[in-house]
């Protein structure tokens, strides 16, 4: 009985762990670097938006004067714009690379999900 | 002054301050530390009036209490010698004969007087208890 239990567990584990090897195409994703860069920029963009929001909250709670906030907000929005431009450039490169390569291995989404946190 | 030079100066000042602070800490630890000694080491070379941390095992049959004072012997883990300790103050719950103990002591002749509330006893990872329900399960190990 105990042997049966162990055997069943081993089979279940092997089936579960080996499933991706049976169902997915193998090989490295040639666009992995671009996707990773895109994900980094998305995360940086979200962080920049939060910074902009934090600065506004600082103004509304009196930590920053209107004048200081204007200067900081302009700085942050300029940084955000720069990030958006970089994002657009990377998206364009990724789209071009995907056209050249065909569908990505494993049938994954072209762009990663935005970071949550 | 250019910003890069300013930053370097700040870094040097900060690192110097950190090193000085660390140095003071290291120095005071060596001067404030109390030497850990076994019973044999204390018998051989303990100087009267100096504080040592005695580490060893409480000798079986040596524990006595009288008038709020605890008397016990600590044996050396490596030699068949032990020292007599007179201790007042907090006695940790796990304190027992045969258990590891550490206590700060000062030599007075052949006696070592423990500093109040400095005793630490090794907590055993398991312990032995007799079967608590009387009668029913004791037949084999009475």
């Amino acid at each position: 009985m105990e042997l049966l239990i162990v055997f069943a567990v081993v089979l279940a584990v092997a089936a579960f762990v080996g499933a991706p090897l049976r169902t997915r195409a193998r090989g490295l994703d040639p666009d992995a670097g671009l996707r990773a860069e895109l994900a980094d920029l998305e995360a940086a963009k979200e962080a920049k938006y939060h910074e902009i929001r934090d600065a506004e909250l600082d103004r509304r709670t009196g930590k920053l004067s209107d004048e200081d906030h204007r200067a900081l907000d302009a700085e942050l929005r300029a940084e955000a714009v720069a990030l958006l431009k970089k994002l657009d450039a990377v998206r364009a490169r990724l789209a071009a690379a995907q056209e050249a390569d065909g569908p990505a291995p494993g049938g994954e989404a072209a762009t990663p999900s935005p970071p949550v946190g | 002054m250019n910003p890069s030079r300013k930053r370097r100066i700040r870094l040097v000042v900060a690192l110097t301050a950190a090193l000085l602070a660390a140095g003071a800490l290291v120095y005071t630890s060596f001067s404030a530390g109390s030497d850990e000694k076994t019973a044999g080491q204390l018998l051989d070379g303990a100087v009267a009036g100096k504080t040592y941390t005695l580490a060893g095992t409480v000798k079986d049959g040596s524990v006595r209490r009288a008038d709020g004072v605890l008397w016990f012997k600590v044996r050396d883990p490596h030699r068949p010698v032990s020292v007599r300790v007179r201790y007042t103050g907090l006695v940790p719950d796990p304190f027992r004969e045969g258990r590891g103990v550490m206590v700060k002591v000062v030599r007075r002749g052949d006696l070592f007087v423990g500093e109040k509330d400095t005793m630490v006893t090794k907590c055993p990872s398991k312990y032995q208890v007799a079967p608590p329900r009387p009668g029913s399960r004791l037949a084999s190990i009475a």
Partner: protein, 732 residues
């Protein structure tokens, strides 16, 4: 089922090894299929270890003494709650708990990040599975919880009575959750360094786990302190014991990390510092686990010297060398993107706070390992005690708390004089008033440092209240909400910020409790007979009567005490000392009921203003003549029964008489009481330590709780639209 348990450990070990190989192969050659298979190996590991852990738990609950670990750490009369938790009172069970928690938290981390950090995650998986493989190797070959006994005893030896405390039962799972959760940012940092993906994404993915680790480890530390205060009979909560310090070290560096990571998120600064901090934290978490088990440092807590020390040292050595090597080799990618704009900015305050925390960690580390360091340097083992620790940690804690009040008031990037006026005046006034008020309390002028610290705490709490108030008012002005709704709204929309502020207020309160309760404590050791009194800290404590109880598990001798002040009754305290029976037959049939382990039940009257604490230490020497008489009588009776070939029934009758005799012996403490030793302690504001801890961890929960996705999108969408308009303007 022990066989199944052993087999599951081996299966788990194989899965861990597979996970390492599949993840690394997938990352560098094989592609996503292998990476996904490696991730599934983590899930499978969690499943298999849950099965193994369940088998061990069931064995404890059923008191299956064929399991060695059950026979040596539990008994049939151990209450069910403590049976369930006795599993981790042993070396073997605690190691299994550690690796099980690692597998569960790793599974959660990898599931939540499966669509992100795609280059980093496989290497992180390999690191986590390496840890799992290491701990499984220890459990399989050195400390197997599924070892069985050839001769199954009818009764187990029971749980150490000192561990029969609710706090002690949650303390290890919380500590290990902290340690294993800190392994996750460690692993992701290694992955980021190896793959050179050192930008924003890996921070975002692992920041929450670092905060969860901080929370769990902190709760575990406080539970340990609470146990010490209410279970151990010394009246303190922190002794700078090596094992206490070992859990504090990663908590200190982890606190530094969760702050400084915000600077990297915003400004791309402190990358080397953050990488080093998170790697150090993960290493210290393993070091803490090692210290408890190796026996290299004398501690009240140690499991005892074992053979596990060497494998741990090898792992820690590899972690240190690997971490240093990676950081040095990746210093180009870790170059800072910006510099600190001003020394008067939140970035600068965070950096100062980081330096203080790391300094604290260094002090604690040095003092903890000093016996080994001194032996290596001078040949003599020496140790430093609480006064040495206090000399350095107290001023550092002072500065740390002050910074925790200053930080929330300072904006990012730069602080102006106008900001100082707007933000600092009110909290500074409150702090000053609090300090003066404390100095006016009779006797307090003798402790000006405590009064100054109280002032700093007042400043911190006032700054947090001010921030909450201003945030609420800002929201009210835009959203037309009532005050409570606005407050809830502003906190809900800015959980990290306001959760963090609440943590600061709670932590400052906790340290205030520590400062005042230790600076103004009154303690007295007295010997009293029933009817006699002692005066401590303005309270009169009268020993009303002695108590005794002979239960199925232990004999308790205790006291009922009346506490009064100025003639008015304040509280009734009950304290006992429990004596557990011993299996040492040489102590005699009656004597062994008084000759085993003993533990104190503390008498505690806690209040917002002060705690009155007491413990009794009744000397049982006066009982020895009658115990010896009992031993002789029952030994003769036993011998007689066995000589006459008497059976079970006669023996059972003898044991019943023995129980009556033991109860009567214990009762003499009540009928003919003698003087017992008491320790009385009156500690002002001690309860605020625990209140402060609860507030701290509540703040941590607020900061940790994820905002609903819809709210996140709504919030950022607004800014996205504004920035997009900006972008459109600049590209035209």
């Amino acid at each position: 089922m022990a066989t199944v348990g052993r087999a599951l450990l081996i299966v788990a070990f194989a899965v861990a090894l597979y996970g390492v190989g599949a993840s690394l192969y997938g990352a560098f050659a094989g592609g996503r299929a292998w990476v996904d298979s490696g991730r599934r190996a983590v899930y499978a590991l969690a499943g298999v270890l849950t099965g193994a852990f369940a088998i061990m738990e069931v064995a404890f609950l059923r008191s299956d003494f064929s399991f060695n670990v059950v026979a040596t750490h539990s008994s049939t009369t151990t209450p069910t709650f403590y049976k369930a938790t006795a599993a981790w009172s042993s070396q073997e069970g605690s190691l299994l708990l550690w690796v099980w928690l690692l597998s569960v938290w790793s599974s959660l981390a990898l599931a939540l990040t499966r669509r992100r950090v795609r280059e980093v995650a496989p290497v992180a998986t390999a690191v986590l599975m390496t840890f799992a493989g290491f701990f499984l190797m220890l459990t399989i070959f050195w400390a197997n919880p599924f070892e069985t006994l050839a001769a199954v005893p009818q009764e187990g030896t029971g749980l150490n009575p000192l561990l029969r405390h609710p706090a002690m039962m949650f303390h290890p799972p919380m500590l290990y959750s902290g340690y294993t959760l800190f392994s996750i940012p460690f692993a992701f940092a290694i992955g980021a360094l190896v793959t050179r993906r050192l930008n924003a994404e890996w921070i975002v993915s692992t920041r929450r786990f670092a905060l969860a680790a901080w929370l769990c480890l902190g709760v575990g530390i406080v539970l340990g302190a609470r146990w010490s205060y209410t279970e151990l009979g010394w009246g303190g909560y922190w002794a700078w014991d090596p094992v206490e310090n070992a859990s504090l070290l990663p908590w200190l560096t982890g606190t530094a990390f969760i702050h400084s990571i915000m600077i990297q998120e915003r400004r791309g600064m402190l990358k080397v510092w953050n990488a080093s901090l998170v790697l150090a934290t993960g290493t210290l978490a393993i070091l803490g686990t090692f210290l408890v088990r190796s026996g290299i440092l004398d501690s009240i807590h140690a499991f005892g010297a074992s053979t596990l020390g060497v494998p741990f040292l090898i792992l820690i050595g590899a972690m240190v060398l690997g971490s240093v090597g990676l950081v040095v080799s990746r210093r180009a990618e870790l170059r800072t993107e910006h510099r600190i704009d001003s020394l008067l900015s939140r970035e600068a305050v965070f950096l100062a706070q980081n330096v203080i925390l790391v300094a604290l960690a260094f002090v604690v580390w040095w003092g903890t390992f000093f016996p080994l360091i001194s032996e290596a340097v001078t040949g003599t083992r020496a140790s430093v005690g609480p006064p040495w620790f206090d000399k350095y940690t107290v001023p550092l804690a002072f500065v740390l708390v002050a910074l925790s009040g200053i930080g929330p008031l300072v904006p990012w990037r730069r602080l102006t004089l106008a900001s100082v006026r707007r933000g600092f005046v009110l909290p500074a006034v409150v702090g000053g008033v609090v300090a003066l008020a404390l100095l006016l309390v009779p006797g307090a002028w003798s402790q000006p440092k405590a009064a100054a610290f109280a002032g700093v705490v007042g400043f911190v709490v006032a700054s947090v209240v001010q921030e909450l108030w201003r945030g609420m008012r800002a929201r009210q002005s835009s959203a037309q909400e009532s005050a409570p709704v606005a407050l809830a709204g502003i906190v809900r929309r800015n959980r990290r910020r306001y959760g963090g502020y609440v943590v600061h207020a709670g932590f400052a309160t906790l340290l205030l409790g520590v400062a005042v309760s230790s600076s103004f404590q009154h303690a007295k050791d007295v010997s009293l007979k029933p009817g006699q009194s002692a005066r401590v800290g303005g309270y009169d404590i009268r020993y009303v009567r002695a108590t005794s109880h002979a239960g199925s598990e232990k004999i308790s001798l205790g006291a009922v005490l009346d506490v009064s002040k100025g003639g008015k009754h304040v509280a009734t305290l009950r304290t006992t000392r429990g004596f557990y029976p011993s299996q040492d037959v040489t102590q005699g049939i009656v004597g062994r009921f008084f000759g085993g382990e003993s533990e104190s039940e503390v008498g505690l009257q806690a209040g917002f203003g002060r705690d009155v604490w007491t413990v009794i230490d009744p000397d049982i020497a006066p009982l020895e003549p009658i115990i010896q008489q009992g031993n002789d009588t029952f030994r003769r009776a036993m011998t007689g029964i066995l000589a006459r070939g008497g059976g079970r029934q006669q023996l059972a009758q003898l044991y019943a008489l023995r129980d009556v005799a033991v109860t009567a012996v214990a009762r003499r403490f009540v009928t003919r009481p003698w003087a017992a030793d008491f320790r009385f302690i009156v500690s002002p504001l001690a309860t605020w330590i625990w209140i402060g801890a609860i507030v701290t961890f509540l703040g941590g929960l607020i900061a940790l709780w994820p905002a609903p996705a819809t709210a996140r999108r709504r919030v950022t969408a607004g800014y996205a639209a504004r920035v997009a308009r900006e972008l459109a303007r600049t590209t035209q």
